[in-house]
């Protein structure tokens, strides 16, 4: 029997579902208090405080510029927050970030035979983040490397 990995399927409000591996998931919170941080990127305008730690909250539905312009941040649309652990490089200190999601995460088992070619029409910003794609319940599930979003960029000085 092929080896299977555990993953969590998340609805982040993108045109498709995404998945993170089991070891990335720290916890799921229901509507943690969000604090606005103005002038952050469109997809990261809020932080939450968890155990005295500042956790950036990512709204991946706003990754595409046109989506960010079209939709206001609406907490009722994203009642859950997944706190995930990530490393920007191997051996780096583990950091945490929050993903705003629309439905409770669903745990599934993923095998190699589920891998598929990503469908055409995936926005370029998602293509740069994507490290794999598999099919589950007849729909493509993207597996992003979210650390790529969270790696510090050069300041726009």
């Amino acid at each position: 029997m092929a080896e299977r990995a555990k993953a969590w399927v998340l609805d982040v409000g993108a045109p498709f579902l995404i998945a993170i591996s089991e070891h990335e998931m720290v916890e799921v919170l229901e509507t943690p208090e969000r604090h606005l941080v103005p002038r952050g990127p469109d997809f990261c305008q809020h932080v939450a405080i968890r155990h005295n730690e500042v956790i950036p909250l990512l709204d991946l539905s706003r990754l595409q510029p046109q989506a960010a312009a079209a939709s206001a941040v609406n907490p009722t649309l994203t009642p859950y927050t997944v706190i995930l652990a990530y490393q920007t490089t191997s051996g780096a200190m583990v950091s945490r970030a929050g993903l705003l999601i629309r439905k409770a995460p669903k745990g599934i088992a993923v095998g190699d035979e589920m891998e598929v070619v990503p469908p055409s029409g995936i926005p370029s910003v998602w293509r740069t983040l994507m490290i794999a794609c598999f099919e589950w319940e007849r729909q493509p599930i993207l597996v992003p490397d979210l650390a790529r979003l969270l790696v510090p960029l050069e300041p726009t000085e």
């Binding site: 606005l36 990127p41 920007t88």
Partner: protein
């Protein structure tokens, strides 16, 4: 402390470590030596210390908006003073219960105006800003407007 007319205490021992001010429910923080005081906007006893810039919650220049409760005077490192109308001003005194956090990398990289986050209590997060940069942005904007 809401909308009280006050200058900062002159004795260093009495001085708070930061002043935080709210604009449309967003708390912005500055170090104490980056302010020269706060007051009600129409306090007849107050002397203008410089130009006044109305900004929105993103700290971008905004048209004259609804009446605000307070006016905070900020001072950049060259001594230039400017006022920013705000909804509320509060003093934050350094203590073990008050924590200062570096920004998550994604936010630190997004805008050099943002410097750190101050957690004055459990319910608020204040964004510590670079007053020099804000001064430049506002003064540059004013210059552009006057140039027409």
């Amino acid at each position: 402390m809401n909308s009280s007319t006050s200058d900062l205490p002159s004795s260093p021992a009495e001085q708070p470590s930061w002043l935080i001010f709210a604009i449309d429910q967003v708390w912005i923080g500055v170090f104490n030596d980056e302010t020269t005081g706060y007051q009600q906007p129409r306090d007849p006893t107050a002397h203008p210390q410089g130009p006044i810039f109305t900004v929105n919650r993103q700290l971008r220049p905004a048209p004259q908006a609804a009446e605000r409760e307070a006016l905070i005077w900020l001072q950049d490192s060259t001594g230039r003073c400017f006022g920013v109308p705000c909804d509320q001003v509060d003093e934050v005194i350094a203590s073990p219960l008050v924590s200062l956090h570096s920004l998550p990398p994604i936010l630190a990289a997004s805008d050099p105006l943002l410097q750190a986050l101050l957690l004055p209590d459990k319910r608020r997060v204040a964004l510590l800003i670079d007053v020099d940069r804000l001064a430049r942005e506002l003064l540059d904007h004013a210059q552009e407007r006057s140039d027409g």
